[in-house]
């Protein structure tokens, strides 16, 4: 039987592209390719600053997905962008058009092509609300448009230009209950068709993983996985853990997996071990042998690493000031959350000292992820929305 065609529109796409939303788009496209003939309309850019053309333009097959790349016709001028951003912040609506082109990736040929191709597709899924490709694409007012915004509470979302972005699509795909509630309240779009949960994870095989040889000496540790950056609020975790060890002497360590942003200033400690970049396999091994995963980020639209930890039957300790993380924690019943140092200390001590409850958290997380975030569930979920269009 011939498969229905669907398309994704996204600012960047490819195995080499770094970025949560772009990764999300790629894995979703690849998993939907079992059910649909999937095309991706994207640019030749690999980075968002300054959106320079890295990939060749044209057609490419990548993991069962047909990728159409269009050249970026003007790279971002950072100085101009900063000035326009500043004007937008002041509420200057006269420069909106200029801002949209400058935010980029400026790629009118993609939009022109989409105008003619859109009817071929049962659905056109726009990923990330912020960029030119989504803003201009949704201005075409397609009746088969779905927006997967990956939004959270940030400066730009309050600008008037984004009102149309959220009101134009026929349907929405949300990453979390908190994202959905925020956007419903902000834009009054609760009447639109929608689905929650549009990304899954590969549930790791339930087996005993060997520890990575070079970390075998650490028997008692918690783990952080992610960029070591201010954006992830890592400095706070750095200070909290050192304080914790001062006040609670033990052999507990913290293993930190990830690359540090340039200019990060960290407090050194023998209790914190930076692994740098590790392979996916090693990451799973290290997470499996950890007592828990800690996530200090203030702003997340969804944390995949938290789901991975739960799938490995390891509880989580998250920043309760991030509504999405707190929500994930409460719904899964698989961890605790903190909003200041003392809550961090007491939560960590609780998890480390309540064996029976710890084991319950481990199981809760696994069943929560299996019920909501395995790819079979996600593909059915997204397909159901596409069928409703």
């Amino acid at each position: 039987m011939e498969k229905n065609k669907i398309a994704f529109v996204v600012q960047r796409y490819g195995l080499e592209v770094n970025g949560g939303a772009e990764y999300h788009c790629r894995v979703l496209a690849e998993h939907l390719s079992a059910k649909y003939e999937v095309s991706v309309l994207t640019t030749c850019a690999i980075g968002y600053c300054p959106w320079d053309n890295y990939y060749n333009s044209g057609r490419e097959e990548l993991n069962n997905v047909t990728v159409y790349r269009y050249p970026v016709e003007r790279i971002r001028n950072e100085k101009l962008y900063a000035e326009l951003f500043s004007e937008m912040k002041k509420g200057n609506e006269k420069i909106e058009e200029e801002f949209i082109d400058e935010v980029g990736p400026y790629c009118p040929s993609l939009i022109e092509d989409l105008k003619w191709k859109a009817k071929e597709f049962k659905a056109v899924i726009f990923v990330t609300y912020l960029f030119y490709t989504t803003i201009r694409g949704l201005q075409l007012k397609l009746d088969n448009a779905i927006l997967l915004p990956t939004a959270h509470d940030e400066t730009q979302i309050y600008w008037s230009l984004y009102k149309d972005v959220f009101r134009s699509p026929a349907a929405m795909l949300y990453n979390s209950v908190e994202e959905m509630n925020f956007l419903w309240e902000k834009f009054g779009i609760s009447q639109k068709k929608f689905r929650l949960t549009c990304v899954g994870i590969e549930i790791p095989e339930q087996k005993k993983y060997n520890q990575v040889e070079r970390y075998k000496e650490y028997k008692n540790y918690i783990v952080y996985v992610g960029r070591i950056s201010s954006g992830k609020n890592y400095e706070e975790l750095n200070r909290f853990f050192i304080e914790f060890k001062e006040r609670n002497p033990s052999d507990l360590k913290m293993l930190v997996i990830g690359k540090a942003d340039n200019g990060m200033r960290l407090i050194c400690s023998d209790d914190i071990i930076y692994t740098g970049f590790v392979s996916e396999e090693e990451k799973i091994q290290i997470m499996y042998h950890a007592k828990l995963l800690v996530m200090p980020s203030n702003q997340e639209s969804l944390s995949l690493v938290i789901l991975e930890s739960m799938a490995l039957k390891r509880p989580v300790l998250v920043n309760g000031r991030c509504a999405v993380l707190k929500g994930q924690c409460i719904r899964s019943n698989a961890g605790l959350y903190y909003t200041d140092y003392y809550e961090f200390e007491l939560c960590l001590n609780y998890i480390m000292s309540h064996e029976e409850e710890y084991n319950e958290m481990c199981k809760n997380g696994y069943y929560f992820v299996k019920a909501n975030y395995n790819w079979d569930v996600v593909v059915e979920n997204v397909s159901a929305l596409i069928n409703e269009l």
Partner: protein
Amino acid sequence: MNEVLKSNNRKNKFDVETVMNQIREKIAVQKLRQEELRYMGAYYYKSMDYFREQEKIVLFGVGKFGALLYREMLANGINSIVGVCDNNENQIGAIFYAHQILSPLDAVKKYPDACFVISPVHYENEIMIQLAELGVPVRQIRIFNMKMCELE
């Protein structure tokens, strides 16, 4: 009918909110306060709490300490920074985290009711006097010393 996320309904001894309530109660009973903490304690948190209460903040100093402080404020959910200024004439007019850098005089004229936060570590007293001479009430001037909270 749209399905929402399936919450975890497994019957077990653990419940997040019950434990969190116990933890909050323990903190309240023991009167544990951030100010007692050794590493990031009093100074850092008191300062961030103070900044959080301000409607408008102008950051004085766009060097490395200014950048560090700016990021710390954002990390603490403080979004009330309305402007930045610096004494370095070469910097004036340039962009610092989406803000155009003003001269101190222009910043005072533009944001007379803002709280001015001084970030440079070695010239804080001179800058405080400078701002006071420009007409900023002393109650609207705050020095944030990175050395006090081990951020520098």
